[in-house]
Amino acid sequence: MTTRREAACCGEGSPLGYAVTTLFDRFFSGMRGGVHPEGRKDLSAARGIRALPLPQKLYVPLQQHIGAPATPVVNVGERVLKGQLIAAAQGNVSAPVHAPTSGIIVALGDHVAPHPSGLPVPTFTLACDGLEEWVPLQACDDPFALEAEDIAARVAAAGIVGLGGATFPSALKLNLSRGVQTLIINGGECEPYLTCDDRIMRERATAIVEGISLIAQAVSAKEVIVGIEDNKPEAIEAMRGAARAASMKVVAMPSMYPMGSEKQIIQVLTGQEIPAGGRPADIGVLVHNVATAFAVHQAIRFGRPLISRIVTVSGGAIKSPCNVEALVGTPVQQLIDFAGGFSQAAARMVLGGPMMGQHITNTAVPVVKGSSGILALTSDEIGQNEASPCIRCSTCVRACPVGLLPLEMAAHIRGSDLSGAVDLGLKDCIACGSCSYVCPAHIPLVHYFNYAKGDLAAQERGKLKQEATKKLADARSERIARIERERAEMMAKRKAAREAKERAAKEAAAKAAAETA
């Protein structure tokens, strides 16, 4: 995630000019706040999607989604086929993982995660055999005859997660949103540099439109809107052409960051705002990404699980930026090599977009379902400057798409007053980084918010654990008391029995003595 002005290459102009453009934008875009980072999409937008050559080894993490990690269902040493289930979903919020190609599972162990922490996570290592031998697939000739539950079940079995970056299991979203009014398909791709959604819309529009229709059928949506930023005219053209026969609207949206964020795209396309702490389903809306729609099409029509995705390899330090279709588990280094390697030393490597993507320090990390881009940025592009004191210019307040007060929240967090920040709406922050991006003092505002959210979550976990252990402690003292009580009762019973016996014996003896006498 961004901590500083990542894509600071764009001049925002004077504060006054900025204020004027903000007002102008708010009037015309229907979105509050937002920023205009320089797109830099021209680096890779003209490059068609090419398939990456098969790597020798793939590193497939068990967790590539929000929720519980998948449970392995194959053993080390086993040969797996392309598309075979290798780890099953576990619990309600989870997604299965499939073998991206045929080969031998050579290890199941820790491998560095595609995550800023760089921590190791349980990962399958698959040695590819180059045969690309598929498992038998359950294709469907007439997908529109399927029941809504059936569509959701097939989406779940294919391991599809939100490919816009959030990686929330898609089937769960379908099940939770049945009967919504509006289905929005997000083709915003507002992050600078990224062109993977642009390319997939240009090249695979027909399949995407069929996928959208299937999603619409699964949730019986009454209205379908495809929102695409107006900086992608070719994609809009292609999608309009493909959607002519289907009943969906393809809408051009103003190019602005963070247009591709769920809450913002809903606000722009429907004029409705999600209540604080709510979900889109609360106002009858479901949002899916275009690449997710394509994955749904592949899963339902051909039975193919989600094992590859389109990745943009770009940035000033990449020799020839491009868009590639990479198997899940491909090491990032392979994609960089495919793009001609580095033209100069990269000051920062980012997985995802420059505004919300994740820093990586190790190019051995694998591409996962949620990796939309690999960016190698030069020091000019990240424009890292030392933070200076806040001048209370409130530029961040105008930039915040949620309508929060970033400077005030950061001040509270700096003073360790997290509950004060929560009162100011910290939990509604979408961590888009617009505030850090515009801050003339280069204060890493979004870094403060990410820290505070993490700390609050840790406190919450601590509280839950404390409640659980307290219950355990109570249960134990109750058990000990019960055992004590039972022992006492048993002792009393035995004593009574012994006394009764003794009394009986005494009586018998007295009786015998009386008889003899």
Partner: protein, 178 residues
């Protein structure tokens, strides 16, 4: 005029007095509510490291001010600060070294399966049987160190909770110039 003033004030006094009496009867607070609130904050494992008989005793001592807020080792710095906020006192953090959250861990090669540890564990966080290696459930362990004290082979020790992808989060930005 004088009579009217006397009567009205008498009536007012009687009614308000009755209201106060009723309130004292029906809205009475049993015990000191702060004790229950403090007890909620304590780990509840009744480990007794504070020197009081269990967490209830410690909560009582905290509420009447006879115990310092840094009395609970398993609670760590977070608890000291929370208690200080609750009771409106200055937190003395010098006595508490913050090692972060900890859990007990069994060194399997030394454990002799003597069953002493799980008999003292206040939260049933240790599983085992005689002559079998014991194991700690991290989720249930409060790091009260009772098991560490009774282990005859020093197979038990407190370790920092390992950071995972689920528990990792961004550090606080450094205070440079800001």
């Amino acid at each position: 005029m004088l009579v009217a003033a006397i009567v009205s004030l008498t009536v007012l006094g009687t009614v308000l007095g009755l209201l106060l009496g009723l309130a004292a009867r029906y809205l009475r607070v049993e015990g000191n509510p702060i004790i229950a609130e403090i007890e909620q904050m304590l780990p509840g494992s009744q480990c007794g490291q504070c020197g009081y008989p269990g967490c209830t005793g410690a909560a009582q001592a905290l509420a009447d001010g006879s115990a310092p807020v840094n009395l609970c080792p398993p609670g760590g710095v977070a608890l000291v600060q929370a208690l200080a906020n609750k009771l409106g006192v200055e937190a003395d953090l010098s006595g508490v070294e913050d090692q972060g959250p900890q859990v007990a861990e069994v060194k399997e090669e030394i454990c002799i399966g003597c069953t002493r540890c799980f008999k003292v564990c206040p939260t049933d966080a240790i599983m085992g049987a005689a002559q079998q290696i014991h194991v700690v459930f991290r989720e249930a362990c409060t790091a009260c160190s009772k098991c560490v004290d009774v282990c005859p082979t020093e197979a038990l020790s407190l370790q920092a909770v390992p950071v995972t992808l689920q528990s990792w989060y961004w550090n606080k930005p450094k205070l440079e110039a800001v």
